[in-house]
Each structure stands twice: as C-alpha cells, then as structure tokens.
C-alpha cells in the first residue's frame, strides 16, 4: 500500500508529508516534520501532552490520523511564539514558575490558549475543568491555573 501524500498547513506554513494509514498526526509531527514540541505521554488521549489545534479546535494529535489532515490547519506549540515574542501565556508560565519538568507544558500552553480564545474571563473552576485533559505530575496544577488566570486578566487589560 503506497503511503498517503498529504498537504496541510502547519503553524501557518505549507507542509507536505508522506505517511502510512496507521500513523497518527502526533507521529507525523514528531517523526516526519521534526516538530518534537508535542509530546507522547500515553497514545490514548488521556494525558493531553500531544495537544494541538486542528482547524481551530483543541484536540489530542494522538487521536488524529496523519492521513486525515489534508487541506487542514494545524497549530502546535512551535507556533505559539511570534518571532522573538513569546505569547503572554508563555511569558506568564515562566514568570510564575508554572512548570517544573516541562514535559506537559506544551500541551498546557496550547490548551490554555484555546481556552482564552473562547473565554477571556474564565473562573478557576472553568480553567480547571477545561484543562482536566492535561495531566501534570510535578506542579499539582496550582501555579498553572494561577498563570492562566493571571494571563487572562492581563490580556483583558490589553
């Protein structure tokens, strides 16, 4: 069976790749496109470390096939910063020490950005439940939740 030839947009740039049917989008991002920022924690959609945006929707890239994304728009952690400017979430995570080992951080940043795009003023409850699909074992979530809420407040101020 010949490989699929897929053309998609990744972080705003055209991307072209070959993949087998069973390759997930996560496999393609990491192994073919060399975008290793999305992480593989479980391959079963339970940890969120592979979170990406697919046509503006937050998904686990381990639950999407590579051959499904032809013509679609994918945004990964690598696209969060614009040039040398970090996204306010990235900056706040650093200032607030909202990461320890950092393996879950790309997933949390992508997921948090998706939240703030939908809801510019989330309550603590809303932040925690939106992010329930992102596992962190180091921080106990406290500083992550605070960082997301502080960033939301800062972004509302403009």
């Amino acid at each position: 069976m010949a490989k699929h030839h897929i053309e998609a947009t990744v972080n705003g740039d055209p991307a072209e790749f070959l993949c087998e049917t069973e390759d997930t989008l996560l496999d393609v991002l990491r192994d073919t496109l060399d975008l290793t920022g999305s992480k593989e924690g479980c391959s079963s959609g339970d940890c969120g470390a592979c979170s990406v945006m697919l046509d503006g929707r937050l998904v686990c890239s381990c639950l999407v096939l590579g051959c499904e994304v032809g013509g679609r728009k994918i945004e990964t952690i690598e696209g969060l910063a614009k040039g040398e400017s970090l996204h306010p979430l990235q900056r706040r995570f650093l200032e607030a020490a909202a990461l320890q080992c950092g393996i879950c951080t790309p997933g949390f940043l992508v997921a948090s950005k998706a939240l703030l795009e939908k809801n510019a003023n989330p309550s603590e409850h809303e932040v925690r439940f939106w992010l329930a699909g992102n596992l962190c074992r180091c921080t106990g979530y406290d500083k992550i939740v605070t960082a997301v809420m502080d960033t939301a407040a800062a972004m509302r101020k403009g």
Partner: protein, 286 residues
C-alpha cells in the same frame, strides 16, 4: 491498511459492504485509534465518514432535531438552541473524555464503540432518539436502545452505518439531564450513567418520562419501570423511592476495576434520583 474518505453515503456503504477483511468506520477516532495502538484491532480498511454532509449537520426536522453522527461534542456544545432543547444530550456528549476528546468525539462513535458505559447513550435513549442507518439494503431507523446489543455487539448488518440521530419534538415543560458517577471529577469512564427525560403538565405533574442507565448491564438499559415509577407524580419522596427501587432492580452490573456490583447498584439508584430532579427543575423552567 487502507484509508478511504468517501463523500457520499452510498460510497461509504459500498466500501464497508465490500470489505473483505476487518473494516472500521472513522469519525472522531477517539476509540478506534486507541484500540489500534493497543493492538486490540487491526483493520484492513478505515472508512472516514466526516466528508459525508449528512453526518456533519445539525438541523431542525419536523419540530425535532436531526444530529449528524459525526458531529463532535464540542460542536454540539456550541449549538445554543439544541442545548436549550436537549441539555442532557449535549452535556452527556461533553462529558466524554476531556476538552481535547470532545473536540473529536461524536455521538455516532460513542454509540458504535459498543461500550455499555458510553456517556452519551443513556441521554440519547432517555430522549427517545432514533438512529438513522444506511446500508446496502437501504435506509432504516432504529431506536437507539436497540442499536447496542452487548459489549462491542451492534445490531448493524455488514455495511450499515449510523448516519444521524433524530430527537423528537419537545412539548412545553420538558427537559432532560444526564449524570454519571466517576471517582475523579473528569476523565474517567462512567461507573454508572443515568439519563432522564421528562415532560410536565401545567400543574407540574410528570406526564411522560424515560429513564436510561449506563454501565450497569451488558448494554445501556431503557428502564420503563423507573419511568412508570415517576409518571403521574411530582417527584415527591415516595416517587423518588420508587424510582430508586426500580433502578436497583434493573441493574445487572459486574465487578470490575471500575466498580463493584454493590457499588454500581447503590449509585444507580442515587443517580437516577438526582438526574430526575435536575430534569424536573429544568422542565419547570421551560
């Protein structure tokens, strides 16, 4: 492994009917990809139905709602009027997994995965939803409670797929609710799921009701005794007790890593009552 993404129902049906080896439908992939990675299934053919318009739309139909089988939970959540009419169905679909999973998971997939613990199924059954199927012999409708026969066993014939769900028209003073029990606050498979849909008369008495329980038997149950227990009542304490008793009697759960028989039975009773009370509150407000 072949991957096809037909743009018509006929195309999808033909592919599935003609498949020589194992074939699987792909909607959100939140079950299929996990099973493939765990070597539980090794399909020869994957048929992606997301390019078929009928599976992706939410439309009003004859006073009710037709929901495409491949509409995601996240999309349902954003549909204000559907949410107003069927808050239980929409909240059930949005309890599946995480925000990320809800960005992909569909009602069709949740049903056809064949798990009695599926979150959206008790809500659909309580709603009286009809599954619209397309197959080599044509179209037919099945009540959702007749689609899942047992774990991983569906009433679908070879080549048949679920295309959409039809939710019936809603009389005034009607609403639904879905609750599940999980040990954490998110991310777990339901240990017990309860869906209740009911309608009230002007005096607040329940005139119609459907009660469905998930994860307490080999299939998702439509518990008519539980509905009978509350029809004609205002869900007073006596009716609640009858409801709980009926729920208990209907349970045929197993002991597994997620719950014991005793636990599931006890919680099924509690959740039936709590879910009915929420549906009642919502119906009163309607």
């Amino acid at each position: 492994m072949r991957y096809e993404a037909p743009e018509s129902l006929e195309g999808a049906v033909a592919l599935l009917a003609g498949a020589k080896g194992e074939a699987r439908v792909l909607a959100g992939g939140t079950d299929l990809l996990v099973q493939m990675r765990a070597d539980v299934v090794d399909p020869e053919l994957i048929v992606d139905i997301k390019k078929i318009p009928e599976t992706r739309t939410v439309t009003e139909e004859k006073g009710g709602w037709r929901i495409g089988a491949a509409v995601t939970g996240a999309e349902l959540k954003e549909h204000t009027r559907l949410k107003q009419a069927w808050p239980g169905v929409v909240e059930a679909a949005n309890l599946i997994g995480s925000t990320q999973v809800q960005g992909r998971a569909t009602l069709g997939g949740n049903l056809c995965n064949g798990s009695p613990a599926a979150d959206s199924v008790p809500a659909l059954i309580a709603a009286g939803a009809l599954a619209s199927l397309a197959g080599p012999k044509g179209r037919r409708d099945l009540p959702v409670e007749d689609v899942m026969l047992g774990p991983r066993k569906l009433a679908l014939t070879k080549g048949e797929i679920v295309v959409s769900f039809l939710l019936p028209p809603r009389p005034a003073r009607s609403s639904d609710a879905y609750l599940r029990f999980i040990p954490r606050t998110e991310m777990d498979i339901a240990v017990v799921g309860a869906g209740v849909s009911l309608s009230l008369d002007a005096g607040g008495t329940i005139t119609a009701a459907r009660v469905s329980l998930g994860a307490v038997a080999a299939r998702v149950l439509l518990v008519s005794e539980a509905a009978q227990a509350i029809i004609g009542s205002r869900l007073d304490k006596a009716a609640q007790d009858r409801l709980e008793a009926a729920a208990r009697t209907a349970c045929r759960p197993i002991d597994d890593k997620r719950g014991t028989i005793e636990f599931r039975t006890d919680v099924a009773a509690v959740l039936s009552r709590r879910t009915a009370l929420i549906a009642l509150d919502r119906a009163r407000a309607n």
